[in-house]
Symmetry: C2
Subunit: 120 residues, 2 copies
């Protein structure tokens, strides 16, 4: 993540921040972060996108390292496109998805082309 100003950011500032795609289009908002308890590392950002007037919104967990803060945009930029989000496995809050399965997490990071947050 690009260093802008202070080295630490507050979680309730990240929550609600807009996410932009490579073209600078707003594709969603960060709803919350998911933190790995043992290490205290942020592993995913849960993004809401789509919907209209609050209806039909979807939530997707994207790898934290797929986001870079962009001061000119005042939000996070990601290489992930809206199409990729729509085609992604619906893992967040899916009963079939196991957050204890590193293999599944690896596949998700590979899908988005993001570096793994574990073992860094």
């Amino acid at each position: 993540m690009t260093m802008t100003g202070k080295p630490l950011i507050e979680s309730d500032r990240v929550e609600g921040t807009t996410v932009y795609d490579p073209e600078g289009n707003s594709i969603g908002t960060i709803k919350r972060l998911m933190i790995e308890k043992i290490s205290g590392r942020v592993s995913y950002a849960v993004m809401t996108f789509g919907g209209f007037l609050g209806l039909g919104e979807e939530e997707h967990a994207i790898p934290w390292h797929a986001l870079t803060y962009d001061t000119s945009l005042g939000g996070y930029r990601t290489g992930i496109t809206e199409q990729q989000l729509r085609g992604a496995p619906s893992i967040y809050r899916s009963p079939d998805y196991s957050w204890t399965d590193r293999q599944q997490e690896q596949e998700l990071h590979d899908y988005y082309g993001a570096p793994y947050y574990w073992g860094r």
Copy 2:
């Protein structure tokens, strides 16, 4: 941090969670987390404590690793006492405190007897 249930926790669940001292007394609430941008690691939990009916509340940044989730209490337990909090250097949002100074961060962690979050 003790593993309870799923390995990941949501940031907006941590925010608002009660913090208990070694005797099981509620000493405050987690207001927000502070995240090290470069590594994505949670470094501090900002705790509000004291005050009455919303007045006179204080905010203190305590090391993330000074907290352990306790399922029986339904909140975080810490070895930090209210006395220690009152005597701690007022670093959070202090213009004199530099979050880029590892030495200052080390002194704060030593004050609370908490392991350093960097280099883990």
